[in-house]
């Protein structure tokens, strides 16, 4: 599998994500600087976490207009698997590849901790290695993870199985207490209609090594490698 990781000024999980991808695939991903206008032929595009352009104005807003993003959007439309983690998710909503908006956490504070996630949809290149309703423990670390969309959009997301992951408690119940940021319907991860684009707030690359204290994120990368090779 050949993967490209898009690097903006202010990205800070590019290396972490590269490490997790390399561990899963045996191949170091290519880091693509945001000023590039062309992408090499790749099997996977990843927009990593961080604070692209300081998240000034709105999280992900300025990055969404970086030169490389025109190409990323085109590839995603053409069906290339595209993964946005945390800040990457914010960038994907700002480009319109995913619907809705990620706004300031309801607590108005940055939140960094483990959360539980329920796998809602396993029929995708990203989630194929998980079981339906499997409960994962993966960290979040963000200031703007509060997902908002209008009711029509939310209903469409539900109807088309586009909700990938929801915040839940250790037993899999999607309760308000288990929601770290106030996201509507406890949405933690979202697909586009075609399910080749996934945005998620939690950081699977921080739950990919026994030293992380958990490895529940690993299957996401392993699944991608398997599906793309197939």
């Amino acid at each position: 599998m050949t993967a490209a990781i898009i690097v903006f000024p202010g990205s800070n999980c590019d290396r972490d994500t590269a490490v997790a991808l390399e561990a899963a695939s045996g191949r170091a991903p290519r880091l693509i600087w945001h000023r590039e206008t062309a992408l090499p032929k790749v099997d996977l595009i990843v927009i990593p976490g961080g604070f692209a352009y300081g998240d000034y104005l709105r999280a992900g807003a300025i990055a969404a207009h970086s030169p490389i993003m025109r190409e990323v959007v085109a590839r995603a439309h053409a069906g290339v698997p595209t993964l946005g983690i945390c800040n990457g998710f914010q960038v994907l909503t700002e480009t319109g590849l995913l619907p809705g908006v990620l706004t300031r956490n309801a607590s108005l504070r940055f939140v960094c901790r483990d959360v539980h996630l329920r796998v809602e949809q396993t029929d995708s290149v990203f989630t194929c290695k998980y079981r339906p309703d499997q409960v994962l423990r993966i960290p979040v670390a963000h200031m703007d993870g509060n997902y908002i969309a209008d009711d029509t959009t939310l209903q469409e997301l539900e109807d088309h199985g586009q909700i990938a992951l929801r915040y839940c408690d250790a037993d899999g119940a999607a309760t308000a207490e288990a929601n770290p940021n106030g996201a509507q319907r406890n949405i933690a991860g979202l697909f586009n209609r075609r399910r080749n684009v996934l945005g998620l707030m939690p950081h699977p690359e921080r739950a990919a090594d026994p030293h992380h204290g958990g490895t529940d994120g690993r299957a996401l990368f392993a699944g991608l490698v398997e599906m793309i090779a197939a």
Binding site: P9, G10, N12, C13, R15, D16, V19, A20, W33, G49, G50, F51, Y53, G54, D55, Y56, R109, F110, V111, C112, R113, P139, A141, M143, H203, E205, R206, A208, D209, H211, H212, G213
Partner: protein, 727 residues
Amino acid sequence: MSNAAPRPNDLMGLSEPEYDTILEIMGRPPNLTELGIFSVMWSEHCSYKSSRRWLKTLPTEGPQVICGPGENAGVVDIGDGEAVIFKIESHNHPSFIEPYQGAATGVGGIMRDVFTMGARPVANLNALRFGSPDHPKTRHLVRGVVAGIGGYGNCIGVPTVAGEVNFDPAYNGNILVNAMTVGIAPADRIFYSAAAGVGLPVVYVGSKTGRDGIHGATMASAEFGGDAAEKRPTVQVGDPFTEKLLLEACLELMATDAIVAIQDMGAAGLTSSSVEMASKGNVGIELDLDRVPLRETGMTPYEIMLSESQERMLMVLKPGHEPAAMAIFEKWELDCAVIGETVDHGRLILRTAGSIAADIPVPPLVAAAPEYDRPWTATPPRPVLTAAEVPQQPDLGPALCRLMACPDLASRRWIWEQYDHMVMADTVQRPGGDAGVVRVHGSEKGLAVTTDCTPRYVHANPIEGGRQAVAEAWRNLTAVGATPLAITNNLNFGNPERPEIMGQLVGAIQGISEACLALDCPVVSGNVSLYNETEGSAILPTPVIGAVGLLPDLAVTTSLAFAANQAIVLIGKTAGWLGCSLYVRESCPGETMAPPPVDLAAERRNGDFVRGLIADRQVTACHDLADGGLLVAVAEMALAADIGATITLPGDLPAHAWLFGEDQARYLVTTANPADLLAAAIQAGIPARRIGHTGGASLTVSGTAPISLADLSAAHEGWLPAYMATA
């Protein structure tokens, strides 16, 4: 002497004799810009004039030390061709005036100190002291400082993995915000600040210069009067995004062969960075101020030289490397300019609009900086408090819950969850244990990091308190299995012109020195923050120790979380010392008497023994004993795992002295094999005693009612969020 010219009314914080020295050096009255340069260079903050003669007494050497105090940060060998680079720094006054920006720029400043030496920062820590929770400003300050530290560190992408927080009315008008950064660099590619060589280009890179924080260095050395509000416009705003670009650009340039010397622009900005590079390199520097990237119009040479605008670096390059450097800076979208060159005449010459704005000989500007032997008086010893003088609390459960919920012991989760403590994906022990542990990227080695100080001990007895701060830091590293390497320190004290304050400083330094020698842990960097007073009332003396240790193999590390069905063994001698303990402070207000004595030889023996047990995989959990004593340590270990314990009382000590005494040099360990462990202790001559076992959902002290972990957890986790939620 050239006293003919009238003296300026405003000596910018310099004394009359200091001004006379300047006249002698210059052979004429200095102009405003020159006086400003002397003023910041000779401020307490930059010149250490009150503390220098005492700092010289600190032990700074060891086979592991690559570079001790004197550069931007200390450098220590960690093997395999790598070095750890670290330092701590205060941003107390700015954080009191504007907590968010003050704390944020404190983090930014200390990170620059570390990456200017070639290291990629891998961990941040913060040591915080706030006023009484009841004080009307405290909540606002806590909220702002924590948000500011997180705001900066999270954005730049360096995990904040450890720290400490205390509350005491002595900090009501003068909080402490000390930030520490730890970085890793190739041991053969460390960058220093000596600009050796003439005719070399001097390059400015980073944010443009504005009128931010002019005279911040002198402000950091001034006592707060009632007019603190007037000093407001000097506050700087941090831009972590630009710092991230500066970090990446510097590391990228450092991978080439272009840099001769590099120095961040911190306190006293362009002045101290250029003077330091020239002085260390035994050269002069000429700067063309018209080429400095400016954010505002009409800035004077004085303002340009004294500006403390953040996120800026000054470097001296090898000739011909400018284009390559500029290409890197352009890629990272940073402002940059060649603003001058090194010269052989040993002077700092500043030009603007074709004329000379300042001309100062560098060697005396640095060497003639004042150094004082300030009068000091030793802190009088306090009487010892006996256990018999301290009433027993009738109910153990409520007493323990109160203690676990007191501001100095309550969980800091509300704070560290606002810090990204996992970015870089190398965090192995998160905040909440004895030390933060980060993996050395790409290896199976780890670095353990901690900050510690118990100001109430230092206040009661500066020498014991200084020893204790080092000993506790050393213990915290030991408790995760790490070998302590070296320390950095931040000496936060009141007005050194008062002999009793100076006595605290002298005593604490003596204690620190003794402990460093006994524990083989040299000082490699540090910072001094004096004049922490408001209207004549000083803070508690707070010599914060930041320590770094090495874990050769991450597979053999411990945490404080209990495992089930293990024996609990107490290592170290318990005399039941209640003086200065939190138990006494929380249960019977009044004079708390003498703090626990620190037996450095016992610290060394017990710690080395515990580290050996961890290395031999004989223990399943480990925690050092500190604030609150034995029962608090047991409770912390239980809460970390949600596994209870049963503890026995000894016959030879009153229960409260046994459970809450704060005797030093002690650890709790758990093991499946207590007989072996106790035998090994006897063999080694280490006091060790089996005190109970783990299991269940409550904490039981024999003969008393069980305390439910749920209640303990609610008390411990509840205080800070509830406090911060009140308007």
